[in-house]
Amino acid sequence: MSSLQVAIIDCGMGNLFSVKLACERAGLSPVVTSDKRDILTAAAVVLPGVGAFGTAMDTLKKLDLVEPLRDVAASRTLLVGICLGMQLLMTESREFGLQKGLNIVEGEVVRLESYNSEQRCKVPQVGWNRIFRANGTWHRSPLEGLAEGEFMYFVHSFYCKPADPAAVMSTTRYGALEFCSSLKHRNVLAFQFHPERSGPQGLAIYRNLASIMTNLPETNG
């Protein structure tokens, strides 16, 4: 198994093509898959996603990927959530009533609207916004080398509130709200924005991920 093999989970929604391409550009070997064997043996697993929380969780259950993902999280393999993927990692979401997530990162998912006090801030947030350091340096994180206040591309109506403030890697302001735009919790990394759609700065994140992967001690052999 190549040390750079990345499994990108296919739960039917989202621009997997661009995630795959971004991985390739970073020198990784991505494979789009919904087979749990691929997921359990990859050097890193990416959980992207677009759309409704409930539907995505149902799909993960149907594909029998819930436990495998928890296993990956418990191991030292890199698990990367993007956009909805980040939200799925949390304990629960308030989209359409209370729904259970993967509970890999403790915290909840809340709708943007509750904090949409400024007239001009619409929901979903669609567009570029700035990420700021939350807990000290970004050194040795996937955000290594990026400038403070770098612009990334967001498309979302919900955001995550991790229970552990130390997990917050970057914050972003939308209207009066300051929310967690990316998190880092041991081997679990997650981005509310889309690095593969954020131009060269976003691609830099993928290169950083590749770097982190190659520096990790041997995982599943």
């Binding site: 929604m13 989202g14 621009n15 093509f17 661009s18 391409l21 971004a22 550009r25 677009v50 759309g51 409704a52 400024e118 001009r120 801030c121 619409k122 929901v123 979903p124 669609v126 567009g127 570029w128 916004n129 700035r130 612009f151 591309y153 498309v155 979302h156 109506s157 939308y174 209207g175 889309h194 593969e196 759609r197 954020s198 131009g199 060269p200 976003g202 691609l203």
Partner: protein, 289 residues
């Protein structure tokens, strides 16, 4: 809130074209070349519209979508003649992030709901192309500005949002291609009425127009076509082989189109920043993929 500037590329076959009032197929060059330049010049997103798809009942953008998404890492929206969920799926598979729906959505509004359910609201942009009527109302048109629908543009915008559209793109057919500025009334009313982001399109002929539609139109993003394309043509950056299909007469003797004070993305963004409007600044470093 950071606003977005989105170059709009109208495409017919292999060519980038630009009309006036959604009429006329003057070729300005190759879309891939323009797309690349816009990416390098700081575009926030890109929009590809197949302007003849509904009219000719065909879809032909897949190749250029594939090519573009290999090289350009910002969101790409594709529209023109998307009639079924399969059409949408194919375009997304080819690398698009969002799709724009007009003709098919007006004919069958439930299509918007189905598409939003299947692909996620944020993937679905409903495009409304409207003409101002003598009584001050605005009517939506389909088939690249050719067929009347009897549908009121504002009512349709509200409905589209209810059906699950992620964004509304509103184009003034009266203004587009003329360089006389955006239809502020149209854009303002839609932006104030729908809870989802609104993209203004049609009419930018000077840098000031962009600032105007953002501050008076209250929109979240602006689509630009003539003002950017003619800028590239004038600076000869987009010069390509002038053979093959299409109305190449203008390219053979390029002269400026006097209704448009063309400008580059950098110039427009610099202007907006000076006016205190938040937008993603253009990087001066070489784009490096």
């Amino acid at each position: 809130m950071t606003i977005r500037l989105i170059p709009r590329l109208d495409i017919k076959g292999p060519n980038l074209v630009k009309g006036i009032h959604l009429e006329g197929l003057r070729v300005l060059g190759r879309p891939e070349r323009f797309a690349r330049l816009y990416y390098e010049q700081g575009a926030d997103e890109l929009l590809y519209m197949d302007v003849v798809a509904s009219l000719y009942q065909r879809n032909s953008l897949l190749d250029i979508v594939k090519k573009t998404s290999q090289e350009i890492f910002i969101p790409l929206t594709v529209g023109g003649g998307l009639r079924t969920l399969d059409d949408i799926r194919e375009v997304l598979r080819a690398g698009a992030d969002k799709v724009s729906l007009n003709t098919a959505a007006v004919k069958n509004p439930e299509f918007v709901r189905d598409a939003a359910r299947r692909f996620g609201s944020s993937t679905i942009v409903v495009s409304i192309e409207a003409i101002r009527k003598p009584d001050g109302s605005y009517e939506a048109y389909t088939d690249n500005g050719r067929e009347k629908t009897g549908v009121d543009a504002f009512e349709w915008a509200v409905r589209a949002a209810e059906l699950g559209a992620g964004e509304i793109m509103v184009t003034s057919i009266d203004h587009e291609g003329t360089g006389k500025g955006f239809d502020l009334e149209l854009t303002f009313r839609i932006a104030q009425t729908v809870p989802i982001p609104v993209i203004a399109c049609g009419g930018a002929g000077a840098v000031d127009h962009v600032g105007e539609v953002l501050s008076h139109g209250h929109v979240d993003a602006v689509c630009l076509a003539s003002i950017l394309h003619y800028n590239i043509v004038r600076r000869h950056e987009g010069m390509d082989e002038v053979t093959g299909e299409g109305n190449m007469e203008y390219l053979k003797q390029p002269r400026s189109f006097s209704k448009i004070q063309d400008a580059s993305l950098q110039e427009i963004k610099a202007h907006l920043l000076r006016q205190g409007m938040a937008c993603r600044p253009v990087r001066s470093t070489e784009v490096h993929v």
